[in-house]
Each structure stands twice: as C-alpha cells, then as structure tokens.
Symmetry: C2
Subunit: 229 residues, 2 copies
C-alpha cells in the first residue's frame, strides 16, 4: 500500500516546519495551512497522546478540545502518564479521521482516504482555577456540545480531581488523502477488476436515555439534533 | 469527565501485566483476557504507533493487521520513523474504537463509551520475502478483505518498497467502557435534565468507482457487501 499525493497547500498562516514535523513521505499530501489543522482537530473526538516514560514510548487515547491555537487534553489526576506529560516533558498528539478505503487495481496502491494531524510540543498543566474551568469547558463543549449549559457544572472538588493539559499548536504536521486510487498505467489498462473508494462515514444512533431518568424526560436538542463534528 | 468502571475481566489467557501495561485509572474497566484484545484490534482499521525519536515521542497513524498473536504494522520504507522503530527500539501501539458519548447529569461524569488497546513491545522488520508477503497479506486482508484475491499482487520490487513491522502481542492493556452514565446519587435525584448515551456508529457509504474504470464494471461482493470490521 502506498500513500500517493492528492492535495496541495492553501496555507495562509503556515505551521512551523521542523525536522520532526516535516512530512517525510507522501509530502505532496501534506498541508501547511492552519485551517487544515483546525479542520482535522475540530472534526474528530479523540486524540492519541504520546509521551516517553522510562525511556519507552506510551500512547494513550484521550479527549480534547481546541480554543484558538491551544489544544486542551483531558485526564483524571490519577493518570500517571498525563501527570508525567504535564511535567514539562515533550509530547506528541495525533488526531486521525479515516474517510474511506482506497481499493486500487494493485495491492501495492491500496490506501486510505484520511485526514491526520500530529502536534508536537510541551504540554503544561492548567492549574489556575478559572483557567482550568475554562479549559474544561472547551473540552466538554468539544466532546458534548451543549452540556456545559445543560449539565451540572463542576464543583471545586471535582475541578481539583480533574487534570487538563494545555498544548500550544505551534508545531504540527497535517496530512490528507482523498480521491480515487492512483494506479500505475499498465494496471489501469490491463486490470479487469474493480477499483475505487469505499467511503467510511460516522453517524449518531438514537439516543439511549439513562435507565434512572424519569419517564418522559425529553431528549434535548443539543443531543437529539447533534451534528457530526 | 470521569472514567467509571463498567466491565470485568473474563480472562482465560491473561495478558501480561507490567507497570506500564497495568491500567492505573478506571482499573475495574480494564480487561485482561486475550479475546477482548483481539476484539479491539479486529474491530478497528487504524492504529497509532508511538516511538521515541531524539528523546521525544512521535505518534503516527498507520494500518495494521493481526495474525494470531502478532500485530503487523504497515509503512513505506521512506517512513523514517517506522525504520527507526524497526531498529529494535521500544514502541507503543494504541487502537481505539469510540462507541458513543456519555451525557451525564454532571459535567464531571461525562464520559465516552469506547474500547481501547495499548500494546507495548519491540517491533522488528519483516524482511524475509515469503514472510513479508504473508505479513502484507494479513495487513491487506484486514484493511480491504478480498483484495488479496481481487487485486494484482505485489511484484518483487513493490515488496521491496514496502516495510512491514511485526509486534508480538505479549504486553497489552485493554480498556472498555459501555453503558449509561454513572452519576452521583444527589444528581440522579435532583437534576431535571436529560442523561444518557448518544451512540456513535460507522457505516460504509456507496462505493465510488474509479473514474478510469470501464463503464459497467460491477462492484464486487467483497466491496459492495463489506461488513464493518
């Protein structure tokens, strides 16, 4: 399977490019505009946080939210790895949206349509109560838009039991692939089988009310009418 | 947002437990049976590979396949990071399936329903031609079942231009969350809003034939009738 170039940069506010954030393969597939970064981050719900612990890499899924050029990562204070990451150590955060499977005429040119962002930097804990509350609002409104208004807000104790990390969006790489397979000419001419893309989509299924809910409690619009991010 | 325990282990063949693979939070949510690990790996399509480069973590999305207790990761030979990982360095591979958003009565108990696996180990490159071909078959049949039979198979040159890493499934942690919110009793009694789960599902959209395909080329059953993994 190969990764063939299909997109070009339309960047106005370039992302910084360093050796580790410069895309080494399928480079014509990379994007350097900030809008592309925002699009990937805003259209997904979970990220994978990578950090180094005892010399070895650890990757963990978690939820996040973005406000302007800061990514907020959520973690319980019991999460040793998040705490370690918060201690000024370098982190890498990847967000990937899979859009479809590319069935090429050759196995070699099989691929995926996707959008991915990898952010590098140093995460720092958000500790000042008002800032932490705001960061938690950003994460909550990303994961469950409308909940900050609908649900009971965090108490001081709950806020203390929650860890939020801030990661500036200074250094990031964005990659996109879209469109049909990119087969070699002899395969296009000579292969009689099918080739194309099988798109993968997401959808919300019907809301499942909590069994402890009073009968007839209406599903609010922010849940019933939620759009995909 | 908290991560509340909802699942128990039913393990018959336990996964090894070491400090780094022992789940530190939401521990009752962890699974130690191999079947749970297989289920997560087999029901997703992309993984996030973490490794250490120049002392800093790097997380990259890629495709994979599983054969028994070996995970095969795919990468072009141009991917510097995969090559580095192949050099006997420790890696961490995370696979996460997001199943829904848990809307609790409190912001604090908001959560996600999900299944995740994090595998730790040392990846090694698969270089022997027959083994590499087989590993590539495993990855291809995971990402695009039926393609190994339908598409043109890799040439020797294409095989040489492809890197496949093997990672033994020796050390892994698996976490699952399912079910309704786990609110505090006072919130259950006193909150008048809605609480429940909004399930997130995936579906295949209609296949998009390659524009270069001859008119009338039928969509084969392995694409048209593909089930979700």
């Amino acid at each position: 399977m190969t990764h063939t170039p299909t997109s070009v940069s339309t960047g106005a506010t370039p992302l910084s490019s360093t050796p580790r954030s410069t895309v080494r393969r399928g480079h014509k597939r990379s994007r350097t505009d900030r809008a592309a970064l925002y699009d990937v981050l805003d259209s997904c719900l979970i990220c994978h946080l990578g950090l180094v612990r005892n010399g070895a890499p650890v990757v963990l899924p978690t939820v996040y939210g973005r406000l302007d050029d800061v990514l907020y990562l959520h973690g319980s204070t019991g999460a040793a790895s998040l705490i370690a990451a918060a201690d000024g150590a370098p982190v890498s955060v990847a967000v990937t949206r899979l859009d479809g499977i590319v069935y090429a005429r050759s196995v070699f040119h099989h691929s995926m349509n996707y959008a991915s962002a990898v952010v590098h930097g140093t995460a720092s804990p958000v500790t000042e109560p008002a800032a932490k509350r705001e960061a938690l609002r950003v994460v909550t409104e990303h994961v469950a838009p409308g909940s900050w208004e609908h649900a009971r807000l965090p108490t001081r104790k709950e806020l203390a039991a929650t860890a939020v990390l801030a990661l500036p969006l200074d250094e990031a790489s964005v990659k996109l692939r879209s469109g049909p397979p990119n087969d070699d000419d002899p395969d296009v001419a000579g292969h009689e089988g099918w080739a194309g893309v099988l798109p993968l989509r997401r959808h919300w299924d019907a809301p499942q009310p909590c069994p402890l809910l009073a009968d007839g409690t209406p599903v609010p619009p922010h849940v019933a009418g939620r759009d995909l991010p």
